[in-house]
Subunit: 185 residues, 2 copies
DNA sequence: CAGGTTTCGTATCGATCACTATGGATAATT
DNA sequence: AATTATCCATAGTGATCGATACGAAACCTG
């Protein structure tokens, strides 16, 4: 997973994987069928072990603004963990790919789209309970937040520290409309 | 340039380049020495022909806020030009790379760092003339703006339209502190 | 302890990578 | 017009890619 995270799908050779896992080629193929399946397993593992912060933030019983804040700060931390490759595997894994690896690139794109959709869902919920103003576009803002997270991923890859990413998250948060008073309260 | 832009440095094979340029391998090597040099030429050409908007925006005789607005809107347009690959070559070219191509990845990283530095320079100029409040951190905000542009590049690659990117740009701009009255005026 | 089976690592597969040597066609010179 | 020189595409170089055939070693059974 770390190799794919660091070098991307195509640039990670079986020789590197073999050495890292201490397995012989037949053992790898016996366990994972082929390189593509192994990568998908790595994606699943990454999803389960590295980015729980996202689901946590979006499902936390807090205001919409606070949920987005938790999401961005969680990303700042997750994208700059010591001993781990910088950024997000879903971004670094195959942003550009050869025609042969188009399926992999599309899969990663669908992960990113799913993240954006999850953000949009949380924003829609927020608008439903009056956390957000009337004219607020859920889709547009979700695209902004998802885009900022993608940008943080690249900044992390370029060496940004967790503090720098947190500041970027806080800055991005300033674009959110101010918390509204609930009319009923 | 388009091939590198679309598929990245390593995933673009000489066979693809040969077909696209209508040249034989020796002609390519006679003209460009090797693949790495050809890629660097493509980077230079990209810089000259595709992202003039950035220098234009940062050197325009307008307020700092307006300059950043022009920068982000220019990116929205440049990252989604019809008939061109989505996003920015400096991001897509080699976000992740094999150990052999580390030099290329580093070169692209330095391009991104240079962009961020250019933004920081413009912000510093803005603060010097009183466009920005006292406590404003030039470096942090430059990292935010550069990060947002990188994020726009990925959103563009994921199929975002120019309108969607413009909205993202406008949203990002809301994080900028409001234009200050010049004390002397 | 012998025989049969299964497991597993080495050595290699064909394909493709970036890259180049060489033979043939063309052009220039005597 | 004959000969030499120059160019240039084809064909192939070693290396590495993902993936596997095969022989040796180990193990369980009788």
């Amino acid at each position: 997973m770390h190799l794919f995270w660091e070098h991307g799908y195509e640039a990670t050779s079986l020789a590197m994987l073999r050495e890292a896992m201490g397995l012989t080629p037949p053992q790898i193929y016996n366990a994972f069928t082929d390189k593509e399946t192994l990568f998908r397993r790595a994606l699943t593992r990454y999803h389960e072990t590295e980015i729980g912060f996202a689901l946590d933030a979006l499902s936390a019983p807090v205001s919409t603004r606070e949920a987005i804040r938790l999401l961005l700060l969680g990303a700042a931390e997750a994208y700059s963990r010591p001993g781990k490759p910088g950024g997000c595997l879903f971004v670094s894994g195959a942003l550009a790919a050869s025609p042969q690896a188009q399926a992999i690139a599309d899969e990663l794109k669908s992960y990113r789209k799913a993240s954006e959709a999850a953000i949009a869902e949380r924003l829609a919920k927020g608008r439903a309970v009056g956390d957000l103003p009337e004219g607020f576009s859920v889709e547009s803002f979700a695209k902004y937040i998802a885009g900022v997270m993608n940008g943080m991923s690249i900044q992390a890859r370029d060496g940004a520290s967790v503090e720098e990413l947190r500041i970027m998250a806080q800055t991005a948060l300033a674009a959110l409309p101010p918390e509204e008073q609930k009319r009923g309260a």
